[in-house]
Structure formats: C-alpha cells, structure tokens
Subunit: 875 residues, 2 copies
C-alpha cells in the first residue's frame, strides 16, 4: 500500500516533492542531530488524493494519520487528548516551493476545556495556557472555518479599552480565560456548531483545511506568477508544540545566516521573548535584533550560531531559519534557502566560493537569473522611499526607477526633454508613434495594457522604466490631466515611477545609479566560462547595439527593420510608400527611404565589430504604419496630391480582419518585391561601405513568416540577384547569408525542405505560440485570466515556451533541419529568448543561441550558464 504519512525520521532533504520543503528540511535537521520538535509529514500526494476524492480526505489516509499519531505519542511519551499528559500539535502547510497565500499555521492543536485545565495544573502557568487556548481557537476558526480574524481581535481590543491597558502582555489570566469563552461563542455563531472538542476531529479538519487552501485565489495567483504547477500539491507538517510564550525564559525568532539585503556574512534576524511566532511578524511588539540574544542568553545564542553554520555548510547556501526557545531550550522549527536581493545573491555566491564552501557552478545555480535585473537599473534611495507611500499601483512592466515632469504626448515629451527637463510620459496606451517620445522619457506610465502591451515590450527593450495598466488612474487628454483617486496632476507636475514594483509616487524621489561591483564582474566571468548557448540581442539601432555589447551580447539576433521607420522624418516617406498608387510610385518613395536604412545598418555594423548581425526584413502588416491623427492624414494626402476620398480608399484597402494572419512578413515582400530589393540594397551597400573601412561583416538576411519553401526561394533569388549586381558594380565581394524565421507551424513541419535552401533559422516563438494555440496575444487577455482561475493554464505560454506543444514543433524543426544541413545555425528571437526557463529548454533542444532585448542579456547569460550546468549534471 502506498504511504501517505512519513515520520520526520523517515525523510530527508531530497524528498521535497513528496514532503514539501518544510517537511523535508525538518527531517534533514533531525538527521543532523539538531533539536527539532518531533513530528511527521502528510505528503503532497495525499493532497492530490484529497482533490481526486471530491475535496475530502480518503478514509485510508485518515487512518494512516491517526496511526502515525500513535507512533508520535510513543516517541514523545505524551498522549493526544489525554488531560493528564496531553500531546499538543502545530499544523503547518509546506509545498515543494515556498508559497505564500496558502493557509499557514495552526498552533496548540489538541486543546479542549478538559485538556486545558489539566495543562494548567501541569504547567502551573494558567495565563500561558489560556493565552495558548484562545490563540488556538482563533487560528482554527480563521483557517478551517474562514471566520475573519478581526472578529476575535476586536474583542481583545474591546477588553483592553475596558481595562484601559494597551499591551496584550497586560492581559491577566482571568482576561485570557474570558477570551477563550468569547472566542468559542464567536465560533458557534459563525458556524452554528460547537467548537470541536475531539483532538482527532480538530486534526483532520485542520489537515483538510491546509489541502483546501492550496486552491484558494491567492495561492493560484501566486503559482501563476511563479510558474508553479497546480498539480504539485502541498504537504502538511504535524509537530509537537514547543512554547516560546511560556515565560520570560522562552522566546521565538527568525534569522538568516547572512544578510539577505546586502549579503554581509553575519547572522541577521530578530526575536521576541515570551512570544509565539506570529507575534514576531504581527508588529505589536518590536522585536530585538538577533545580536541582542548574545547578551540576553549567551549559551542559547552560541548554540544557535553554531547550528546556523552547520546548516549553511550542509545546504551550501544561505539559510532562513525559524527557532523557538522553551524554558531556555532551543528548538529549530524550520530552515530553508533564504530569499535575498540581487546584490545579496551575488555577494553571497561569490563569498561562498571564496570561502571554499561551494564551487563556481553552485554559485551560479544559487542566483535567480531574474534577480540580476535589479543590478542593471536605477533604483530609488531606500531611505527616501521608506518615507513615501505609493499613490497608486500599476503593473511592474519594465524595471527601474524614474522621476520627472509629467507630459501627455510624445511630441511634448520630446520638446521638454530637449529643453533639459526630465520627463515622464503618461499615455492611455502607447503605439509605435510614441517610440521616439519614449526614448526621451525617463519612464512611461500607461493606463491600459498588460505585461506584454506595446508600452511594456518596447520599454523593456529600451531598458526604460515602465508602469503599465494602471487602471485606477485616468487621463484627460484634452485638458492634460492625470487623475489618481482624489488627486489631479497637471502637465509639468513631478511624479515618480518604480517599474520594479509598479508603484507610482507623488513628487520626486532620489535615484541611485546601478553599481556593478567587482563581485558581479567576477560572477559573470564564471557564467561566460561555463555557458555554451550563445546570447545575442534584439537591437534595432546603433544605441541598442552598443548597450547589448556592453551587457555581453555575442551578436545581434534580430534587427527589426520596421522599427527604423518610425522616426518622424522617415515615417512620412514610409507612409507615402505604403499608400503609393502603383509599383513605380512605390519604388520612388522606397528610393527615398533607402539612404536612411543603409546608414542605420552601417552604424550597427560598425558598433558590432564583425559580430553576427541578423536583419529581418519588413514584417508587420502595412496598416500598422498608417497615420492616425487628422493632421497627419491631411499632410500626407497633400503630399501625395490625392483627394480625401482617394486617401480614405487607400487607407481602407490596407484594413484587415485578422492582421496577425494577414498580409505581412514574406507575403508582403512577395507582393511588393521592390521592398525586398530596397532592403537588400541597404544591407549590402552598407556592408560594402564598412568593408572599405576594414570591417568584414557577414550580414544574415532573415525572411519573416516563411511557410513554404517556394516563398523562401522566390525572395532568395531576388535578394541574390540584387546583391550580386551591387557587388559587381562595387567590384567588391561581401559574404552574406539568407535564412528565415520559423514562426508558422507549417514551416516547423517542413523545416527539412526549407533548410535545403535556408542557411539559418531563427524561431519566432511569439508568433509560433500564437499560431500553435490559435489565439493572439492581443486578444487572449479576454480569457487568459479565466484560464488561470479555472486552473486550465499553469503558466502563460507567451512568457515561457510551451514545451509540450510549441516545443514539439521546435524539436521536429531542429531534427529535420539538421538532417539536411548539419551545421545550420539555429536560434530563438522574441520575448522567450530572455526568459530563464525557456532558455533552459533551448539548451535542451540544442539551439546555438537565444536573442533577447539588450537589458536581458546578462540575465540570459546567467540562465544559459545554469542550463549548461544542469545539462552536465543530468548526463
């Protein structure tokens, strides 16, 4: 028969999936000989059984729990529910990953009136016992029955008012006794039942409540945010109580083996005497720093310091510990790898290598790649920040801190910035025309749009702070007002944005520039030595290219040529081109665009110093470039010398029902081959020019949205013909390659055929995800929340590659392509290229590189190194 309950003595730290993190570590501490209150763990598999059994604990598991209680009784020499020598328990949840949001803890379980009166006799401390009893009733009511804590807390407040006292510590034994009765009454009113007397019933209800809390809204939301699968389930830890509130010789606390904010190698934490765990975090009494324990209880401190060293050395990582002191005896209640800031993570990792405690590989694995982000952006001065309250919260769309004068249009933002002002651009939502304004702003605030809205994606690409989807704020664009709750901001008012938290502040806050310490540099040097996947950047201009290089990019994986058209001067000619009446007119306007594009390429080539540069030809549907304001339309109409009606007709002709599945990518280039010719001229002429300067770049020309070999061949032959002619004219031989995006399912399926002609592939996982699922990123917002709430999706496939579906297509494409062209260069560009889990998957797939926004390059490097280490470990 399957085992669903494990005594601590039966577990160890490797059994996290089954026992949860807390349970596995309690077992491990026990095996290290550390003082751990005795107990057992009900497994995560029992949690899944609970759900399979219509949210009810199967009879057999109930039996197994009660039998294990018997064992615990014999180990502790106490008896559950026995008034003479009662076994009292704590019940705590513990999933495989640390997971706030779930029901947490019930202490003192096993109490009832009979047990309590016996316990009074035994401890001779009635105040302590009734305090424990009322806490138990309150916690049980809250977590098992969902009765809000405020019902109970308000009664305590009332009592204190009556007695004119302020501290809980001033409540007498009488008061505590009174409270237990009041609390039982509250329970009865709310549930229409008596508070359960039978400890076994208390226990089973508590266990079910823990399992049930696995699927409460907050827990689901947390899992969604952190990509934790819904089917992991939680374990429950049942442990003999130890009491930090037993008197002045007792206490409780939490501590880290090193400083989680700075990484300093020194015990860091706090404790309270005569208190239970919740008091430390509740904030009613101010805890003492852990260092004070050294003078207060030198022996206990010595023992704790010793244990913390044992644990750090044993786990090879900084530990986050909970402890309780009962009548002068130390008990360890929990240990786990401690959460830490990015700075701290790097320092601890590097220090521990220097201390000889871990290897460089372990150091790399100990850092969450996403934390690197905080090292690369401005932050607010923590001292000033602690004095400020955010006035509203939006989505933390792109990290960093920004403060500046408020402007409501790109034009005004640019103007103000040119006049020397620091600017925050506030928009309902942004569109490609705002890009230049975004460049000039310190930060961007939008009212609509999610984490993958235009503003968010572009800002992340620029490494610019952005708070998006700030629904609670309103913008009056006419009057140039930003209205947040009762406060109205006008143009030029100063606000501050924190893109790492989504907070918006009134007024200015001092910013701190990112400092890349020596530790970070050393750390990244290990990363680069170990990783095998190459990291390229998506960069559309010289500036981005330089940033990418500074951040360690090994090439450019994606130049989106369309982004070059949005600058004021160019977009005008570009619009004339797309609205041209015929091929001849279109060619004329293209000729005007060519010099700009060529210049851009030259600058990028020079910046990249012969590193690879992949240039994708025009991809989006043309109507994305259409003018929007009446003024712009009028100006364009006049320049084209056509009537308003004709202008409307031409603009309407570009409308599409499903632009994502419309006339875009290579389809556009096939219809308007003159665009492909112009772009080839720009790519090759630029290469010829820098060649003359001694820079030998090999441009990689990438055709978007290929779905059929013939599409590729058609454009390939146009490109080759154009390029060969240019080289002949210039009497100069440039190497170049022609490859394609793999972003529609059909090209993945037929990759073997396409690879006979294409010299490289880059997976456009954004589009590939859209087409494989059959939903567009722009529209999925309408149902993705429902999908998360109804447990249909564990993760957002636009954030992390869907390995099961999209991943299969990638695998097929890679296998078939390598069959016909073994050395074909294979990469990923798009948002997934900067996401650590997806990078690990790319390593498994055997890709050559990933390409991401410049600001994610360091993150990608760390993720790649981790992927490489894991790959070696699993060999």
């Amino acid at each position: 028969m399957k085992k669903y309950v494990y005594l601590f003595s039966e577990g160890n730290k490797e059994m996290k999936a089954l026992l949860g993190g807390k349970g596995a570590n309690l077992a491990e501490m026990l095996s290290l000989g550390l003082p751990v209150p005795k107990g057992f763990t009900i497994t995560t598999e029992a949690c899944n059984k609970y759900y399979e059994n219509q949210e009810s604990l199967p009879e057999s598991i109930q039996q197994e729990i009660l039998e294990t209680i018997k064992k615990l009784e014999s180990i502790t020499g106490k008896t559950f529910g026995d008034p003479e020598n009662p076994l009292l328990l704590s019940v705590r949840s513990g999933a495989q990953a640390s997971m706030p949001g779930m029901m947490d803890t019930i202490l003192n379980l096993g109490m009832n009136d009979e047990v309590v009166s016996a316990f009074v006799k035994q401890t001779k401390n009635p105040r302590f016992v009734y305090d424990s009893y009322r806490r138990f009733i309150e916690m049980f009511s809250d977590v098992v029955k969902g009765i809000d804590k405020s019902y109970f807390e308000s009664q305590i407040d009332l009592l204190k008012k009556e007695k004119n006292i302020t501290s809980d510590l001033d409540l007498t034994e009488e008061d505590m006794y009174k409270l237990t009765n009041i609390f039982k009454e509250i329970y009865k009113k709310a549930t229409m039942e008596e508070f359960p007397k039978d400890p076994r019933e208390q226990l089973l209800q508590a266990v079910e409540a823990v399992f049930k809390s696995w699927n409460n809204e907050r827990a689901i939301y947390y899992r969604k945010l952190n990509d934790i699968p819904n089917n992991w389930g939680t374990a429950v830890n049942i442990q003999e109580m130890v009491y930090g509130n037993r008197g002045e010789n007792s206490g409780t606390g939490v501590a880290f083996t090193r400083n989680p904010a700075t990484g300093e190698n020194k015990l860091y934490g706090e404790y309270l005497m005569n208190a239970q765990g919740e008091d430390v975090v509740a904030g009613i009494r101010t805890p003492n720093p852990i260092s004070k324990l050294e003078s207060e209880m030198p022996l206990v401190y010595k023992e704790f310091e010793n244990i913390s060293k044992i644990l750090e050395n044993h786990y090879h990582d900084m530990q986050d510990m909970e402890f309780t002191i009962e009548n002068g005896k130390l008990y360890m209640l929990q240990t786990r790898n401690g959460k830490r800031t990015g700075v701290s993570a790097i320092k601890i990792a590097v220090d521990m290598v220097h201390e000889g405690k871990i290897k460089e590989e372990d150091a790399i694995l100990s850092v969450d790649p996403n934390q690197i982000d905080s090292l690369l952006h401005k932050t607010f001065d923590p001292k000033e920040l602690s004095l400020k309250e955010p006035i509203v919260t939006g989505l933390a769309a792109s990290p960093g801190a920004a403060c500046g004068h408020l402007y409501f249009s790109a034009e005004e933002a640019i103007e103000a910035h040119k006049n020397g002002e620091k600017v925050v651009l506030a928009r309902l939502e942004t569109s490609p025309e705002d890009i230049e304004g975004m460049h000039h702003a310190e930060g961007i605030l939008t009212i609509r749009g999610g984490m993958t809205s235009h503003a968010a994606v572009v800002a992340r690409g620029m490494g610019k702070c952005c708070v998006s989807g700030c629904n609670e704020a309103r913008i009056d664009i006419e009057k140039k007002l930003l209205i947040i709750k009762n406060k109205t901001f006008q143009e030029k008012d100063i606000i501050s944005l924190d893109g790492s938290t989504g907070y918006v502040y009134d007024g200015a806050i001092k910013e701190i520039d990112p400092t890349i310490s020596g530790d970070f540099k050393e750390f990244m040097s290990w990363v680069d030595r170990i990783k095998t996947l190459k990291i390229r950047a998506n960069a559309d201009n010289e500036t981005d290219a330089k940033i990418a290089l500074d951040f360690g990019a090994e090439g450019i994986g994606l130049v989106r040529t369309e982004h070059m058209f949005f600058e004021r001067m160019r977009i005008f000619n570009f619009r004339k081109m797309i609205l041209a009446n015929d091929k001849e007119e279109r060619k004329r306007f293209l000729e005007q665009i060519l010099p700009y594009q060529q210049q851009d390429f030259e600058n990028i080539y020079r910046a990249m110093k012969e590193k690879p540069v992949v240039i994708r030809y025009l991809d989006p549907p043309l109507h994305e470039f259409l003018p929007k304001t009446e003024e712009e339309i009028e100006e364009l109409k006049n320049s084209l010398q056509i009537t308003s009606e004709e202008m409307r007709n031409r603009m309407n002709a570009l409308k599409e029902f499903n632009p994502m599945m419309g006339h875009r990518g290579c389809r556009l280039l096939i219809t308007y081959e003159e665009i492909a010719i112009m772009q080839t001229k720009a790519v090759i002429k630029a290469a010829i020019n820098v060649y003359k300067e001694g820079i030998y770049v090999v441009p990689e020309i990438m055709i978007p949205l290929t779905g059929d070999l013939k599409e590729f061949e058609f454009l390939q032959s146009i490109i080759i013909e154009t390029a060969e002619q240019l080289m002949k004219d210039a009497q100069c031989n440039i190497k170049y390659e022609i490859g394609t995006m793999i972003e529609v399912p059909r090209s993945a399926l037929l990759s073997g055929e396409i690879a006979t002609k294409a010299q490289f592939f880059s997976f456009g996982t954004n589009d590939l995800t859209q087409f494989t699922y059959g939903f567009s990123r722009d529209d999925a917002g309408k149902f993705l929340n429902d999908y998360h709430e109804k447990l249909i999706f564990d993760q957002d496939p636009f954030s992390r590659i869907d390995e099961k579906g999209v991943g299969i297509l990638m695998k097929v494409a890679i296998t078939e392509a390598r069959k016909v062209r073994p050395n074909i260069s294979l990469g990923v560009c798009g948002e997934h290229g900067g996401e650590p889990k997806s990078i690990e998957f790319c390593q498994k797939l055997g890709l050559d590189y990933v390409s991401c926004s410049p600001y994610r390059v360091p993150i990608a490097r760390v993720a790649a190194a981790q992927a490489s280490i894991k790959a070696n470990q699993s060999k």
Copy 2:
C-alpha cells in the same frame, strides 16, 4: 546518360508523366498497329531542365533532338530541310493532363523558300503548298514570337476585299504566294529579324516556345483552377506532317466514340474536306457531321469506325480522337479519354458495364465526382440558353440555375417570396443576417467576395444557386438599382443566374429540374457498395438534415448550433444574452433561448432516425452576432434598458483585433460556462423527448477549438454534470458522447493526451489550415493571387487539404489518438470534406468519415468509392 527524347516506338500509354498524354497515346496507337504519322516526343523532364537552365534548352538536349531527327529521317525516308524530299513536321505540346492555355500547335515546320519550291514540284499543287507555307509563317510568328494573329488575318481579309471574294477557298495560288511574302514582312517588322530559314533553328525555337508557354498566364490560371502541379511540365511531340488540305480527297476531323453530351453509344463528331485541323474549329467553314463521311468516303469511314472501336475497347473508355485523311488515306493524330457532361459520364459508365467492357470499379473511376453536381441542380433549357448572351460574368460560386425578380434586401426578398414571387437576392456582400432572405430566394448575386465568401459558402450549403464577386456590376442600395455596364435594373426586374458558369442574364430563361435517371441510381448503388469511408453531412436544421438523408448521408457530422440563432425571433434574445451585464442576467436570456434550441435538436433527431448526429457547441466570437443597423441597436438598447453609452461600451467590449484568434470556441464556453450548460440542456432534453417516442439517438457533443486537455476536461465535467442531473430528473438514461474538434495545431500535436478523455475527434480542416499556415481565409485574398501568379502556390489550401503541412498534423493526431483509444471515431468536417482529392487523402489517412454540405454528399460518395478502389489497387 538520361534520355530526354523518345521515338513513338519507344513509348506506351503508361508513360504519360514523362511523354505527356498526347505523346503516350500516339506511341500506344502505333503499338496497336494503327496508322499514325511517324514521330517522337521530347519529355516533360526536358521542360523542367529548360527552366532550371534559365529558360533555355541545354545543349545536350538540343543534340539529342537533332540526332532523333536523323532517326526519323531514316524511318520516313525523307530529309529535314532537303528541297528534294523534305521532311515536314508538326510540333504540338502535350502535358500529362489536358491543358488548354498552352501554346498548341505549329504545322508544316521545316518549310523555307527553297523547300517550298521543291515541294511544289513534288506535289504539283502550288496552291496547297503556298497555303501551307503561309499558315506555317503565321503559326510560328504567333506562338514563337508572340506576334498577334490578327496582323496576318487582317491581310487575308484585305486581299479578299480587294478581290471581292468571301471564302479562303477562293484565294488562288498567286494569292497564297503573295501572302507568304507579306507574312514574312510582318515577321521581319515585328522581330527586326529575317524569318528563320534553317529548319533546325525553326525546330529548336518551336520547342522552346512550347516549354515557355507552360508558364504563360492562362496556363498558370488553368493549373490553379484544376489543381495541376506547376512542376509537371509539358512534353513536345514532333511528328511527320500529313495533309488534310491536299485536295478534295483529303480532309480532317474530330470525333468521340460516344456522344459526350448525352452518352448515346454512337460515333459523334465532325470533319471538313480539304482543310487543316485549325479550320475545323475556326468556324469559317461549317464542318459536316461525322455520319456524312460514311456516304462520302465509305471505306475510310469504315476504317475509322473500326479504329474507334479498337481504341475504346483498348482504353476501356470513351475516346476523343483527331484524324486526317491525306489523299484518301486515314491517319490518327490523337486519342484521349473524352471529356463529357455529367449525364453523359454516368450513362457511358453504366452502359459500358452492361456491355461487359468495364467493371463497376472502372465505371466509378471514369466519372469525375465534381460532375455529379450538375445532376443535382436545376439547369437552364439549353435551347433557350443558346439564344442568350450573358450580360456579365461573376464567380460560379454555387451551382444551379435561378431566375426571379430582383430584390436588394433580405427583408424585401422574404416579403416578396411570401407574396408568391420568385426572387433573386442581390447584395453587395451577404452577412449572417441575410440567411433567412437567402432561404427565400431562388438565387443570390453578390458584388464582392470570392469562392469562399459568406454568400458562396452558405449558398453551397443550401444547395442554392449563387454568383458571387461580380465586380463589374454595381449596386445602388439607396435607389435599389443594379447597374451592369450600360444597363440599369430596378427592383422587381427579372434576371437569371447560372451558378455553374457565373453568367448573369437579362430576363427569364426556362429552367429544367434535375432528373435522376435509372442509370444514376444504379451507378450510386455500386458506389455505396464499394466505398468504405462514411459520408456525413453538415446540417444545421431539419430541412438540411432531410436533404442530406435524401442524398445518402449516413449521419450528421456537424450541426453548427450558432446558425440556429440567426432567425429573427431568436437573434434578439441571443443578442440580449451576449450583451448581458452579468452571469445572472445572461442565464435569464439563455433560458429564453433554450426552448428554441431544444426544439431544433428534437426535429433533427427525428429526421435522422437514430443515425449519428454531431452537435458542435457555440463557436464564433460573440461580436459576430452584434446588431448592425441603428434601428436594431436602438431596439436592443431599449429592451436591455440601458443608456446609449452603456450599449456602445458593451458592444465595444466584444471587439477584437484578430477575431479568428480571439475569444471563441471552447474559450467562450469556459468563460461563460452557462452557455455550455444551456446547450447541454437542449441536447439532452431533446434526446429524452424523442427517446419517449421510441427514437434512441446518441448525441455526439463536440467542443470546438480545444488546444489543451484541461480545456476539454473542464467543459466535459460541466456537460456530464448537467446531463446526469437531467437524466436523473427525467428518470431516463440517454447515451451520449463528448468529443472535440481538432482545429488548432496544438490539439493535433497533443491528440494522444486529449484522446484519453475525448470520445471522438473531428478535424476542422478550415481552421487547422488557417493556423498551420498562419493566414486567415478572410485576409489571404490580398496575396493568394500573387502567390498563384508567382508560382508559389499550386493549389488553394482552403479548397484542397495541404497534405504536406496540414496533412502531417492530421497524421500525427490520428496515430497518437489511436494509440490511446484504438476505436476512436475520426472524421473531417468543413469545406474539404466535400472535395474529391481531399477525400482521397482522408481515405489514405484512415479516417472513419467525412462530413460535407448536403448537396455535396453524392459527390463525396463517388469520391470515397474512387478512393477506396485506388487504395485497393495500390495494395
């Protein structure tokens, strides 16, 4: 070395792919001992080499041709270019499939001034020789140099005017001589070159011209229409000339072994004495019926009749033959399986079985399934039709003939039809709200939209005549006018539509009802005995279900439940539902819709008499149902008791960027599970009601757009819960199944997982094609024409399943699904289910059924039988 040229004696009828149809059949006739002028064939592979070699014939192939000419010289005893005994040649194209649009024929090749004067001596017939010479110059100029024939013909007309004669036959030997010189001058003016004298040069230029014509616009267009791959290429046949214009004892003609219009078993054809082939078709002289040859040249007729029997028996099919009589001797120039009408095809097939000439299987294979269509629809009386000219041509969107009074709105059409008028509905384009009006019309004419526009798809579904995309016509909706060229039609004017040709006629034409003769019935009985694939129909109501049954459907493969909502009464409640403010309000409106939907299902169940019925739950995005006119919006707003602004907001909330990839299918049902519950109630309650009447239907509930097992499970559990409760309440046990569409690539990839829960699959190949290619049918129109013109697409993937891409996904899905559920029912619904080539592919895939519109069921049955026969043959 590869062989590119074959003497007729080296070929046979099986070598069509290499020698083309004409070449293979000439070889075959030779081997049967029939009188065929000697010659050889240049292969289709040479054509492909020509294109690989930048549209130029490789040197080696030129050599091979000239060497084979030497062999032909030795066979014929004549010498190419020899003035004494010249070998003169015909050059004719011949692809694997008969393919109009390519360059066809050059006769008399090998002539030059020297040869001609010798030939005059030899034949003693200078008029004949100069006639042949001027024809040669004209044909060569036309097909090799692209000089329009009118330049030459106008000179003949001029000469006849000068001489005041009307018939070419009255032109003298002098006139002919004069014309040869004039024609050479025209050639020189147009090309700036002398007319080539060297027969070898003439020959090689002619061969290249044939190859080049493979890719002229008309040929490409024809291939696109007929799904002929671009890479087949054409062969060229070089043959010794025989002359039907050598005098009164010579002649030429074409004939069929049976009547191609009626199928009557009697030689059918026509001939002209003293003429070359082109004269028969040119219409200058009226040819004689073939029967006249019996009295004119009884021996030749006898021989021809005999040969025609030999050929029909040998080819086991009705033959279409060309022949020439030179000085009383009969030569066969071509034979091929004859094209025929649907009626004729059936009669010939059945007759030949009765005559013991072919087996039933061969009879089935001899009929083009698409031809069956003409047997199922009204047609115009051919006698009346022959007197009419179409006034404009649109797309032949849905077959059949219709004539009626013109109306411009659905409402007015319905009204007029209720008053007893026959109605033709003319619309700019149709939308779902026109469906009721379309039902009441005899035929539908639209100005915009292609073969897969709403009007076309719905009309085909209804079996209703439709001419769509009639771009040359205009509609003035305000004034109720249809303007075609110079003619303006008003409301109530009578027009006639031929949906099989796309022709529109002014006034009424007599219609003929389809007659299903005894032959047809017998033929279909063989079909049903032989086919293994089951044929279901897509039917959304009782009427369609009954038609489907009459046409031999074995079940319903798709009930599109959304189509039930468009009737005037229902759409109002449905719109209230989709604009409801919250779940409760939505449920209330759903309750109002339930009885209608339930009634519809009951009627369908009764009609289908326990045959399978697959019911797909609500699929399209909700905004498709939104009201469009101001009136409708106003009415709805009042009924919902909300403000105009609120109304606008709710309508806007349903807008999507890419509706095809938006909130639709199961995504909608997951967000609004109350819709799934309502539909389940309707399905199950209806089943319970007919169960009580003794009809034991097993409804197959189909979830649309599934991409993940969890989506399916979520809805499955809601459906089961609802169904079980209903059955419990009714104390009645109904069997039902729950399955899913496979229409997004991800569900195909993960079909093994989904099949663990889904009881059946139906491939939605329309959507699967859209997502696999990444383009939508609504938008692809913008570039698909370019794709065909630029040879990127051979066929339209929306008409015929893309076997290479979409087909792979289907194969994977089938294999994986059968692994976990060996007996899973697998079908295809959607447009491809009625397309013969796609049906053959479905047979190969091992599907259980295809489902198509009721009017295509007989076509699908024939296609399925053919697929089955082919599958057995290839075993």
